[in-house]
C-alpha cells in the first residue's frame, strides 16, 4: 500500500492544523484516552445538552493519525444526538478493524473515511480508534 493512501491530505491538514484542539469552557463531560504503548494521550471535552452533542473539542498529544482522527471526529459529532454519535463511533471502529467495508454504509462517516486505509496498517489501528473509543466511553452515561 502506498504511503499517501494513509497519510492523505485530509489527514495531514487535520493533524497540522486541528480546528477542535482546544479546551472547552462549556464542557459538561470529559474523558481521557490513552495508548500507553505509543504515548498517545488525549482528553475529549463535550458539551452535551438535551441528548445532543453541542460542542466537542480535545487536547493532548499523539501521532498524526490519532490527532487527525480526533479532530475529524470532533467535527463529525457536533450537533449529533448522543445516540448517533455513539453509533458513528462504533461504525468508525468497525471500518478500521476491517469489519465494515460497504461504501454506502460508511458514507455518513464523511471526512473520517479518509482514515479507512489505516485498516491495512495493523500497527496503527489503535492510533486511529483511540478517540472514538474514548468518545464512546464518555457518552455511555449521557442521555
Amino acid at each position: 500500500m502506498a504511503l499517501d493512501d494513509v497519510y492523505t491530505e485530509v489527514l495531514g491538514e487535520h493533524s497540522r492544523n486541528p480546528d477542535h484542539k482546544h479546551k472547552l469552557s462549556c464542557a459538561t463531560c470529559q474523558m481521557k484516552g490513552k495508548n500507553p504503548s505509543c504515548g498517545d494521550e488525549i482528553t475529549i471535552e463535550l458539551q452535551v445538552e438535551g441528548g445532543v452533542v453541542k460542542e466537542a473539542a480535545f487536547t493532548g498529544i499523539g501521532c498524526a493519525i490519532s490527532q487527525a482522527s480526533t479532530d475529524i471526529m470532533a467535527e463529525l459529532i457536533r450537533g449529533k444526538s448522543v445516540e448517533d454519535a455513539r453509533r458513528l463511533a462504533n461504525k468508525f471502529i468497525s471500518m478500521i478493524k476491517g469489519e465494515l467495508v460497504d461504501e454506502d454504509e460508511l458514507e455518513e462517516l464523511d471526512e473520517a473515511l479518509a482514515l479507512k486505509n489505516v485498516a491495512h496498517m495493523p500497527a496503527r489501528v489503535k492510533c486511529a480508534v483511540l478517540a472514538w473509543h474514548t468518545l464512546d466511553d464518555a457518552l455511555k452515561d449521557q442521555k
Binding site: 504511503l3 495531514g12 491538514e13 494521550e41
Partner: protein, 411 residues
C-alpha cells in the same frame, strides 16, 4: 564495511524480500535477527536430542541433560563467571531481574532501607524495585543524568549510602546507548555493603563482559538480544548469594524432598529452575555464543563504531533531526541512536520508514521515566548490529528526509 557483508549471508531473514525489498533492520536493541547456525542448533536439538533433562535414566534424557548443563558451562565461560552453578536460566532478562527482586530483594530489604537505580533503566530494572520498595517500606532513589546523558557522578557518590541495600543499573542504556562505568558503581555499592545488580541486556551481545572483573553480584541478560531464540535468558549471581536465597518459582525439579506440608530445595542452580526448562533455547544460546566468539567482540565493536561514526554526521546535517545521548563527553557511545523528527510523532516516522523497508523502534522503549526526564513523550530509536551495513544507514537517512514532506510540512 566488508565485515558486515560477510556475516549478512548467515541471516536468512535479512536475505528475504519483505514487500519487495530486503529490510534494513535497525531495531537490534529490541531483538536481533538469528543466524542459520543458531537456527540449526535448535533444529538439531529438537530433531535429534529432545527429552526432558534431569529426569530419565535413558540415553536421550541424558543427552538432553548434557546439552542443557553444557550450555550452563558455556554461558559461564562466556561472561567469565567463576562456576557454572552461578548461571541460572530464565526466560529473559525481565524474569532474571524479577527473580532477584523477589528472592533477594524481598528478603534483604527492610523498612527505612534504600534501593538505588538510574533514571535510564528499562522498566524491567525499575518496576520490580518499585515492588520491593513498596512491599518493604523502603525508598527507591534515582541516579539522574549529566547534561550529556551519562549518569551523574555526584548522584552516584551521594545517593548510594549506608542505607542502600541494592544498587541496580544497566550496563548500556537502551535509549541513549551510553555505556555506564558499572565496575565503579559496583565498587561504590560494595563500599556501603549493598549488592549491585547489573542489567546486561544491551551490552552482552555488543562487548566482552567479564562479571568476575566487574565484581557485580547479579547480572541479567536475554538471549534474544544476542542472536538466540526468544524465551531463554540468563541470571548470573554470586554463588554464596544464590545459595542463601529463597526460590522464586516452586514446582518440579527445584526440590529435594517434598512432604505433605513442607518441602526442601535442590541445590543452586536447580533451586531456581522450576519446571521443564528451555533446553532448545539453551542449545541455541550456545550456538549464538560460538558465533559471537568466533567473530570476536573487537570486530563487532569496530563494525558498530563504524556505523555510528558514519551515521552521526549525516544525521547532524539534517536540521529537523533532534538527537538524544549523542554528545557524550566520554568515549562510551554504542550503536544505539535515539532521535526525533521535528513536528512529527515517532510512530508516524516509524511507519514512513517502514514503507521504505527500514525498521526502527518508536515509542518509549520501555523507559517511561527516562522519557519523562528528557521531556519527550516518545522517541525513535535506531540500533545497529554486526550485520548492518552503511547501505542500511543510507536507506534510513534517505527515508528520514521524506518524513516531513509526507505529513505536509516543509523541509
Amino acid at each position: 564495511m566488508a565485515d558486515a557483508q560477510e556475516f549478512l549471508k548467515d541471516f536468512p531473514l535479512l536475505n528475504h524480500n519483505i514487500n519487495g525489498r530486503k529490510v534494513a533492520y535497525l531495531d537490534n536493541g529490541a531483538t536481533t535477527q538469528k543466524p542459520e547456525q543458531m537456527i540449526q542448533a535448535i533444529c538439531g536439538y529438537y530433531g535429534g536430542c529432545n527429552a526432558n533433562p534431569h529426569r530419565g535414566a535413558y540415553a536421550l534424557s541424558i543427552k538432553a541433560t548434557d546439552i542443557y548443563e553444557g550450555a550452563r558451562k558455556r554461558t559461564a565461560e562466556f561472561i567469565k563467571a567463576g562456576r557454572p552453578q552461578e548461571i541460572i536460566f530464565t526466560k529473559n532478562a525481565t524474569e532474571a531481574l524479577n527473580l532477584v527482586a523477589y528472592s533477594y530483594g524481598l528478603h534483604n530489604v527492610n523498612a527505612g532501607d534504600e534501593i538505588v537505580i538510574s533514571i535510564s533503566e528499562h522498566h524491567s530494572n525499575c518496576v520490580p524495585w518499585q515492588m520491593v520498595a513498596k512491599a518493604k517500606g523502603a525508598t527507591l532513589k534515582y541516579i539522574y543524568l549529566e547534561k550529556d546523558g551519562n549518569l551523574s557522578a555526584e548522584d552516584i557518590e551521594t545517593k548510594i549510602t549506608e542505607r542502600t541495600k541494592i544498587v541496580a543499573v544497566t550496563q548500556v542504556s537502551n535509549v541513549l546507548g551510553l555505556k555506564n562505568d558499572v565496575k565503579a558503581i559496583v565498587k561504590k555499592a560494595h563500599s556501603v555493603g549493598a549488592v549491585c545488580v547489573v542489567d546486561g541486556s544491551q551490552s552482552v551481545a555488543h562487548m566482552a563482559v567479564d562479571v568476575s572483573d566487574l565484581d557485580c553480584d547479579f547480572f541479567a541478560f536475554s538471549g534474544h538480544k544476542m542472536l538466540s531464540p526468544m524465551g531463554i535468558g540468563v541470571l548470573y549471581g554470586k554463588y554464596e548469594l544464590l545459595d542463601a536465597m529463597e526460590p522464586f518459582l516452586r514446582g518440579g525439579d527445584m526440590i529435594e524432598y517434598v512432604e505433605e506440608q513442607d518441602a526442601t530445595w535442590a541445590e543452586v542452580p536447580a533451586k531456581f529452575e522450576a519446571g521443564t526448562q528451555n533446553v532448545g533455547g539453551a542449545a541455541g544460546l550456545v550456538a549464538a555464543i560460538d558465533y559471537l566468539e568466533k567473530i570476536g567482540f573487537d570486530r563487532i565493536e569496530a563494525i558498530e563504531a563504524d556505523l555510528l561514526n558514519y551515521a552521526l554526521p549525516k544525521l547532524r546535517e539534517l536540521p529537523f533531526i533532534e538527537l538524544y545521548g549523542c554528545d557524550s563527553t566520554q568515549d562510551n557511545k554504542t550503536g544505539i541512536i535515539a532521535f526525533n523528527v521535528k513536528d512529527v510523532h515517532p510512530h508516524d516516522v516509524a511507519s514512513i520508514l517502514d514503507n521504505d523497508g527500514v525498521a526502527v523502534r518508536a515509542g518509549h522503549h520501555c523507559a517511561q521515566p527516562l522519557h519523562r526526564y528528557l521531556g519527550q513523550n516518545a522517541t525513535c530509536r535506531a540500533s545497529f548490529y554486526l550485520y548492518n551495513t552503511r547501505e542500511d544507514i543510507d536507506r534510513w537517512i534517505e527515508s528520514l528526509k521524506k518524513v516531513r514532506g509526507v505529513l505536509g510540512y516543509g523541509a
